[in-house]
Each structure stands twice: as C-alpha cells, then as structure tokens.
C-alpha cells in the first residue's frame, strides 16, 4: 500500500536521480566537446578562490 511517506520518498528519489544525471551529463558533455567547452571542468572545490561581486 502506498502511504504519503512512500509518495514523498518517490519524488525525492526521482529528484536526486535527475540531479545526479544532469550533473553527470554536464561533465560528460564538457569532455566530449572539443576545444572551448562552455561547461567548466572545475569541480567547484574553491581551491582557486571563487569570485563574487561586491
């Protein structure tokens, strides 16, 4: 029987799966696109110091 918790969890799982697929696709497409790719290879670790406007 599907109760409300199962329903919510289904949505959360779908969201997580879609998010990770999207991230994976961005990464793969950045590798497949040769030369100047629009997607950065940067993993966003902040090691190079992120920029922000005042």
């Amino acid at each position: 029987m599907i109760d409300w918790q199962t329903f919510v969890v289904g949505f959360i799982l779908l969201g997580a799966a879609l998010y990770l697929s999207w991230r994976g696709w961005l990464r793969i497409s950045s590798l497949l696109t040769s030369k100047q790719s629009k997607v950065s290879a940067c993993g966003g670790c902040g090691g190079c110091g992120a920029s922000k406007s005042k």
Binding site: V9, R27, S30, K52, S53
Partner: protein
C-alpha cells in the same frame, strides 16, 4: 643623492571628460607583483591572491568604475610575465593580449604593475611595453612595504624619466586607486604614446633583441605538445643574440633606479635574517617538518570541540525527526539516509577550515615559497621542473586548480609529468577519510608523550603522496616523458604579515563551497545510496537497517560482486560500496559507511556514531571487519587512487587528449591497489592486525 618621500593625496584629482567607448584596460606585470590584489581592489572581485608567483594562469575579467561620468571600463587581469619574450602558456596568454595578437583587440590602456620593492626587475617588462607604443600607466604596488624597508622612491623623477605616469598604490588599503583611475583616463584620452620616448634612450631597441627568440616560440595549440622534441633549447643556450640586449637593458634600468631610489635600510633585512634560517640546508627541512607537524597537531586538537558540537546537532535532529514523524519510508530516509550521509561529511568542516587557515597564512606570509625552495632540490633530482612546486602546492587544496597552474611550465613534457603526479597531493576531500580512520583506531595515542599519533599518521599520508609522486615523476621523466629540465630561477617574495581579510575570505569561500557540495552532490548521493541499501525490502518499513536488509539490498548484492577483488586489501563488501561511491566524490565514502553501518539504528546517544559502528562491525565468522591495519590500508588506497571525475576532466581539457586522463586513472588505480595490498598483507606477515 636625495629623494622625496611620496605622500598619498587626500583629494580626488581632476578627471578628463567622459568617453563614449568602453575602455579596455589590461593589468600586466611580473609574477607576484600584486596584479591580482590590484585587480581585486579595482573591481571588487575576489580572485585568489597568494604570496608566491604563478597564481594567475588565465586572464580574468571584471569592470572598473573609473569615474561617475564614464561607463565602467573592462579590466583584464593577466598572468604574470617577466618580459614579452614569452615561453610558457600563461606568459603567451598575457603577451598575446598585450600585443593584440590572437582573438582580441589590443587594450586601450595597460596598467603595468611594478613592485616598488623590486624596481629593477619589474621595470624590464615596463620598458618593453613602452617600446610597443601602448598607452600605459605604471602602478607602483607594495609601496607600503617599500616604505617599511626604508626604500625611498622619487616617484615624480621616475615618471619624468620614463615619460609615463607613475602612481603609487597600496591595493590592500585602497590607497592610490583614485589617482590611478585619473591617470588611466588621462592617458586614454591621449593619442598612442610615441615609441619609447624616455629621457635617456635605451642602448638597443627591444624589437631587435626579441625577434630571434620570438620566431622560435611555437603557438598555443595542441600541436605544440607534439613538437617538443624539435623545440630548440634557445632559452638555455648562451647565445649572445638574446643575452646582449638583456644585459644592456638591465644596465640602463639600474642606472635609472640608482638616480630615483634611495635604499637607506638595506633590502628586506628581516626577510634575509629569516631566510638564513628557514632555507638553511639542514635547519630548513627540519623547520618545514616541524611546521607541518604543528599544523596537523593543531588541526586535530582544535577541531575536536566544534566537531562534537556538529555531531550532537545532527543527533538531536535525528531524535527530533523520530519523535515527530511516524515510522515509514520518509522517516527512514531522513534518519538513516540524509542525516548520516550529509552529517557524516559536514562534521569534518572544522578540520578542513583549520587546514585552509594554515595554508592561507603560510602562503600569505611568504613561507610557502621557501618551502618550494627547499623542495626544489628534491624535485630537480627526479627531473621535475622547479616550477612544478606551485601546481603541486595548489593540489593540496584541490588537484583541479593545481593542474591548471601547470600552464606556467614551458616544456610540455615537464607539464604533463606534473599533471600526472598532481593528484597524489592529498586534497582536502581526503582529510575526512584520514580523520575518520584515525578517530576510530589511533586517537588518544601519543608518541614521545606529546606528539599525537594521529597527527603523525596524517603527516605520513601527506608525505606518502609526495614520495610516490617523486618516484612516479622519476619513472615518467626517464621513460615516457624524457626531456632535460631547464634551469629555474626562483623568486623568494618578502615576508609579510598575513592579510586577515584574505584569510577570512579564503575560509568563507571554503565554507560556502563545502556547504554547497554537502547540500547538492553529497545529499543526492546519500539519498540514492539509502535507496540502494533500503531496497528491495526484506523487512517492514522502519527497520531497513537490519543486517539482513543491508545484505540483501541492491547495494549489498553489488558489494558482494566486487568483494573477491578487494578482500586481499582487507576490505569487505561494505567498504567496497564506499570505494565505488567515492569515485563520484571522495567524501562520499563517509556517507556510504554511515548509511550501510546502520547509523542511528537504536537512537541512543552513543550508538549512532560512525566510529562506534566501525568498531562493532563483524564478519560472518565473528572477527572484526575493521582493524588498525585495515584502516591504514584504506588510507593508503585513498592517498594513491585517482577518485575524482573533475581531475580527469581538467586533464582531458588541458592535454586536449583522452590518452593522459585514461593513463592517469589506470596507473593510479593499479598503484593504489598494489600499495594497499602490500600494506595489508605485509602488515599481517609482520604480525600486525
């Protein structure tokens, strides 16, 4: 000889009439002259600044509001270059922008950043740029440091001699910025400057000296890497063709500086005294070792309290959810998936912040450049270029900017060799793994009564990464990437007090990045991992953490498939699942272990710590899954394996080839497996458990 002491004017100077066209301004200068600090002060951006050369390897852009009457100018921060005779990738990027070669037009004005404490070297590039006829303004940076070192510069005389506006600035304190803006506007309104119109003409014009060298510089294409065998060693030769104009020009600059500068205090007396100690042949490495040991010891002792606090917050949150939500899948997901998955990683935030606090302080103070100087002998011994140190240093934060920083290395073979070993430097994502293992098996133990064993083991892991990197680079440089390394002259910047705002900004950036990562990738992976552990259901909802449930789950089935492969390393299938998930992000191994080891099953305060679960984990025969030897084996695996998609992606981009990232992931994985195997099996043979 006399010199006038410069005072920063308090009033805003007159500006020229507004212009319709948006100005393009390039900020150029020697490495570590303060270009990025000035760029940040002008634009309000926060690009990374450090007290060593080679931090900027790409051109960065921003907007600079020169005056209320004009539209903001487009300002470009360029990688540092010593002269227009560029050889490395980053220098070529800067030169192409300055000369208007390649994709973009020549900038309207060039702000040449000249370090006031090192005028002779810095003016070399300035005089070359003057000869190209570009409109330029000299920004005399680090003026406060020059004053402190009792260096008096007659700014007006220098400006008159060069016939270029010279504006002293202190970027960190926003001093001189308004005057610089006025000078830029005035220069921009002029017709292009006449070719080198100094009061005393140079003995030999730049172009005649440059041409023979420039012809040998291969353009920035992927083909460059295939040409390394035929690339002439012109820079190392003693050819008088390019040396003679260089010597003559330096002679000219030295004469000019002698006439305009009074160095009353002797240059950087404090710096010289400290350097005598920290770069000493014997004392230097000892001091470096003690500094690193202090850093790790402090990370351990200071981080405990905030870590316990974060842990108790997550435990309280789990209790709250259990108390207010009825049993069901959602409660199970939050209590056994999200909270242990995300909380298990977030708990390490204080340690990571402390690590970056020390890294930033050491960078800002100038000590890191001395560490590079000490390591240079070792690196050159294995054939690595001296310039490899900065990329390797950056890789301790993250391999991605480290690999990008290899652009400062001229020789493509040296560059690729550095890329191939950069991921051996223990990045911040590995720290949680080391810490968890140490907290579980080596905490509270001291060596010689006062040195924490945990701190020593972490230091050992960092040193293991460096040692393996040295060995691998030696092998690569004697086989696949054979090439002589050119001589390397290293600039040791003066010591400075660390800039608190820079340190604070670095830590804030780190907090933001860490929280974002925990709230996105790690959260999503934790949710999916929970699903893989919770399904298919073998028990009723709410009791998904029972041993049978985990064993029969999808994750359990997958883990048992790879178990025969990892059993020789001392790992069971649950650790195997952690290893697989860590290829998405290294820290996820903590989330995975938290989820599969039934964290929070009983809801009691002591039972829901991951360390406790690790201690209680048993194999089917009743023996413990985890022992100190297994923990060491896992740490060694994490030191050497390349479990990072971002690193592979950036290597692919920088080498423009699939070959090198595939080679990197393969050889590192094999190395990690073998080293882990030796650790575990060797330890057992020696009688350790």
């Amino acid at each position: 000889m006399s010199a006038t002491v410069y005072t920063f004017p308090k009033t805003t100077p007159n500006r020229t009439a507004p212009r319709d066209k948006q100005l393009t301004i390039a900020v150029a200068g020697n490495p570590n002259a303060g270009k990025t600090s000035l760029f940040n002060a002008l634009t309000g951006l926060r690009q990374k600044v450090a007290n060593y050369p080679g931090v900027t390897v790409e051109r960065k852009e921003g907007l600079w509001s020169l005056s209320p009457d004009t539209s903001p100018a487009r300002i470009i921060d360029l990688p540092g270059l010593y002269s227009l005779e560029a050889t490395s990738l980053d220098e070529q990027i800067a030169r192409d922008v300055l000369l208007g070669q390649g994709m973009m037009e020549r900038p309207d004005v060039v702000v040449v950043v000249v370090d006031a404490t090192s005028l002779v070297r810095n003016l070399y590039l300035a005089t070359q740029l003057m000869e190209t006829g570009c409109r330029m303004v000299i920004a005399l940076t680090m003026f406060d440091l020059a004053e402190r070192n009792l260096i008096e510069i007659d700014v007006e005389k220098l400006s008159a001699a060069l016939r270029v506006p010279v504006v002293p600035v202190v970027a960190r304190q926003d001093r001189g910025i308004e005057r610089l803006a006025a000078a830029v506007l005035q220069v921009a309104a002029r017709t292009p400057q006449p070719r080198f119109a100094s009061a005393a003409p140079l003995p030999r014009p730049w172009q005649s000296g440059l041409e023979p060298v420039r012809l040998q510089v291969v353009p920035i294409t992927s083909k460059r890497e295939r040409k390394f065998d035929s690339e002439p060693e012109s820079r190392n030769s003693n050819s008088p063709t390019w040396q003679a104009p260089l010597i003559e020009r330096y002679g000219w600059i030295e004469k000019l500086v002698a006439e305009t500068v009074v160095d009353a205090g002797g240059k950087h007396r404090v710096t010289k005294r400290i350097d005598a100690l920290v770069t000493h042949k014997v004392l230097g490495p000892v001091i470096l070792f003690l500094v690193l040991l202090f850093v790790f010891q402090t990370i351990f002792s200071w981080a405990n309290l905030p870590m316990n606090l974060i842990d108790s917050v997550f435990n309280a949150f789990a209790d709250l959810v259990r108390a207010h939500l009825p049993a069901g899948l959602l409660t199970d997901l939050i209590v056994n998936g999200i909270i242990p998955g995300v909380g298990g990683v977030l708990i390490f935030l204080p340690q990571i912040l402390l690590l970056f606090f020390f890294i930033t302080v050491l960078e800002d103070s100038g000590y890191m450049a001395r560490a590079a100087f000490l390591m240079d002998r070792l690196m050159r011994g294995v054939g690595l270029h001296g310039k490899a140190f900065v990329p390797l240093l950056s890789s301790f934060a993250c391999a991605v900017p480290g690999i990008m920083a290899t652009r400062t290395i001229e020789n493509p073979k040296d560059r690729i060799a550095t890329m191939m070993i950069a991921p051996f430097m223990s990045c911040s994502a590995r720290l949680p793994v080391y810490t968890l293992m140490i907290a579980a098996f080596f905490s509270g133990q001291n060596v010689f009564g006062f040195i924490s064993l945990g701190a020593l083991i972490i230091l050992g892991m960092y040193l293991l990464g460096i040692l393996v990197a040295v060995i691998v680079s030696w092998v690569l440089k004697h086989t696949l990437l054979k090439a002589p390394s050119p001589p390397f002259v290293m600039e040791l910047p003066p010591y400075r007090l660390p800039n608190l705002s820079n340190v604070g900004h670095s830590l804030l950036t780190r907090v933001g990045v860490f929280l974002k990562r925990a709230g996105t990738v790690i959260l999503a992976i934790s949710i999916l991992l929970w699903a893989l552990v919770a399904f298919p259901r073998t028990t009723s909802p709410g009791v998904s953490n029972s041993a049978a449930q985990v064993e029969n789950s999808y994750a359990g089935q997958a883990g048992r498939i790879i178990e025969p492969l990892i059993r020789p390393l001392g790992f069971d299938w649950k650790i195997g699942i952690g290893l697989i998930s860590s290829f998405a992000a290294r820290e996820t191994v903590i989330s995975t272990l938290s989820i599969v080891y039934n964290v929070g099953e009983d809801g009691g305060p002591g039972s829901n710590s991951l360390v406790g679960s690790i201690h209680n984990a048993k194999r089917p025969d009743g023996s413990p899954v985890w022992t100190p030897l297994v923990a060491l084996s896992l740490m060694v695996f994490f030191v050497l394996a390349c479990q990072c998609m971002s690193t592979l992606a950036v290597v692919r981009r920088e080498t423009n080839s699939w070959r090198w990232p595939l080679f990197m992931v393969s050889y590192m994985l094999v190395l990690a497996y073998v080293a882990s195997l030796i650790t575990f099996q060797g330890g057992r043979l020696l009688g350790f458990s």
